[in-house]
Symmetry: C2
């Protein structure tokens, strides 16, 4: 893929922006790609939905806003209800089965994954839910390599919390891989 | 001011992106403004300079990239050397006296502040340097209220680290206030 446009959505506190930043940094620092990552806040931010846009490309990127993402991630029902219509036809829609109930079939590849549930069951810390989501996106899109994400995590996360983040990334990678077929 | 365009620059690990996110969130959540916050990564990101753009406005914002900032913050010499030419004539240029040596007079209001030095002297933790910078910017620009920043910090930062962040914000506010005259 020459250019991938991703929109990550959820509620404040789910770490959506952090996951977007890690994704963009990984692409640039370890995959020799260009990336732009942004968030626009408006009246809707006061209502609780968080949206972060990432564009990853081999070419330079001039315009940072995403209109129709190839990849849309929704971690809450309000975010799903709101952002669902913007997905590019044939794109990839990733949702979390604990938080989102899918009501209709989109013109997209829909992957409803038990990310939150598995993180809580195996690690018990909701704070790494976003890294699990990142792992699932990495497995499903193959945009960047898991080992490159680990390098970025290592540089950002205090050593006492690193193992938990690696573990959550691995859970996401497994869920994404399993959902490919 | 109807619209303020800020560019925050420094090196990876100085917390420039986090400060930009806190600034944008504060404007939206507690000041009834609109905000867009972005970072573009390209080949230069591999060289070490971090740049984050923030636009704050009463009006909706359509284009998230900043070309000529009203406010430019440079926390390292390479960032200063690189981004210095983009400041809007008559704008505000904030630099840190520990890391940046000013070589020429710009067509801008230049504030060289001992932010890092004061944080290290009074708190001793470089991790809150970015919050001190944010305090200085808040005092100098009066874009948002300090108490609104404290609310956002309270929602983001684990309680054990909150007091240190408040203290660093206050140092920045004092430095910014003192530099106004």
């Amino acid at each position: 893929m020459k250019r991938c446009r991703l929109v990550l959505t959820g509620s404040g506190g789910q770490g959506v922006i952090t996951a977007a930043i890690i994704l963009a940094e990984t692409a640039v620092l370890h995959e020799n790609l260009n990336a732009v990552q942004s968030q626009a806040y408006g009246p809707e931010a006061r209502g609780g939905s968080t949206r972060s846009d990432v564009i990853i490309s081999k070419e330079p990127i001039n315009f940072p806003k995403v209109y129709q993402p190839n990849v849309l991630i929704c971690l809450t029902q309000p975010a799903y209800n709101k952002f669902y219509p913007i997905i590019r036809p044939g794109g990839l829609l990733v949702t979390d089965s604990r938080f989102v109930e899918i009501e209709r079939k989109a013109d997209a590849v829909q992957k409803q994954l038990p990310m939150y549930e598995t993180v809580m069951e195996k690690i018990g810390k909701p704070i790494v839910f976003n890294i699990c989501m990142l792992g699932a996106v990495v497995a499903l899109t193959e945009l960047i390599r898991p080992e490159s994400v680990r390098k970025v995590l290592k540089g950002r996360i205090p050593s006492g919390f690193l193992e938990m983040n690696y573990q959550s990334l691995d859970i996401g990678l497994s869920l994404g891989e399993a959902a490919k077929n």
